[in-house]
């Protein structure tokens, strides 16, 4: 058992347990907190794979931004101690059946396929490479998606301001 395996097991145990708690917890604020734990341990997995920049983005944007936004909207729309009502038994059974069958099929397919054994180089991803790729227009360049995503973010910002604005009826 190497150190990497131990770390992987810790992260994956946290991810599995807290993602199940996220979808089953009846207190909505707790569910948001469990989601935060899941996202933080996913950032840990990225650190394990040596994607340091990506892990930093995951921590700041997902764990810092989206979860805070979700918690804000929970506080705006429901009472702090409010409990969600229990879903119907038939709904729970059929949804769990769907999820279990889907997971079983996907995991069987993964286990049957023989992935090639490759040795991964140990170096980290370089910030300079990331910056060069984001502004280059040639092969392996991502200038166009970068611009498109900035327009998408602007549109989303304007759209959400317009939608959430109070109207004078």
């Amino acid at each position: 058992m190497t150190n990497n395996q131990i770390m992987f097991f810790i992260f994956s145990a946290v991810i599995v347990i807290f993602s199940i708690l996220t979808v089953t917890s009846r207190r909505i604020l707790r569910a948001a907190t469990f989601l935060l734990f899941v996202l933080v341990s996913t950032a840990g997995l990225y650190f394990m794979l040596r994607f340091n920049f990506l892990a930093a983005i995951q921590l700041t944007l997902y764990a810092g931004g989206i979860v805070v936004l979700i918690i804000f909207s929970i506080l705006l729309t429901s009472h702090v101690g409010a409990k969600l009502e229990q879903p119907g038994l038939a709904k729970v059974i059929f949804s769990a059946l769907t999820a279990l069958v889907g997971a079983a099929v996907a995991i069987a397919a993964i286990l049957q396929y023989k992935f090639p054994e490759t040795v991964i180089p140990k170096e980290r991803t370089n910030i300079e490479d990331i910056g060069q790729a984001l502004i280059s227009t040639g092969k392996y360049g991502y200038a166009l998606p970068f611009e498109v995503i900035s327009i998408l973010l602007l549109a989303a910002m304007i759209g959400s301001i317009i939608i959430a604005k109070k109207r004078k009826d």
Partner: protein, 105 residues
């Protein structure tokens, strides 16, 4: 592969997370909890992208850029969804999916 951690483990972990998200998406009624299940699904896809990037092209960064763009799209989607949820709350005072029979402006 990653110093003792095979790719299969990452894929199985992402699969479990994805289907837990699917379960939450089907079971929950509150709109915000549905949004949280959606974040779980997107996050599991990100793990797959990153693991395959390390397996296939460790010298390029394609999976990483896809993941960055998915995170940006998730942020935009969450902000718009929460604006819509707050607007629905103003009109209907609760945010269960069953009450939304029409989404007319």
């Amino acid at each position: 592969m990653f110093e003792g951690v095979p790719l299969t483990w990452f894929l199985i972990l992402a699969t479990i997370m994805f289907f837990v998200g699917i379960y939450g998406f089907l079971v929950r009624k509150n709109l915000i909890t549905i949004l949280m299940s959606l974040e779980l699904i997107l996050n599991s896809v990100n793990i797959n992208f990153v693991a395959f990037n390390k397996l296939l092209y460790p010298e390029h960064l394609e999976g990483m850029f896809f993941t960055v763009f998915i995170i940006a799209v998730a942020a935009a989607e969450a902000s718009v969804a929460i604006a819509i949820i707050i607007n629905i709350y103003r009109r209907l005072v609760n945010i269960d999916v069953e009450n939304m029979k029409e989404m007319k402006y």
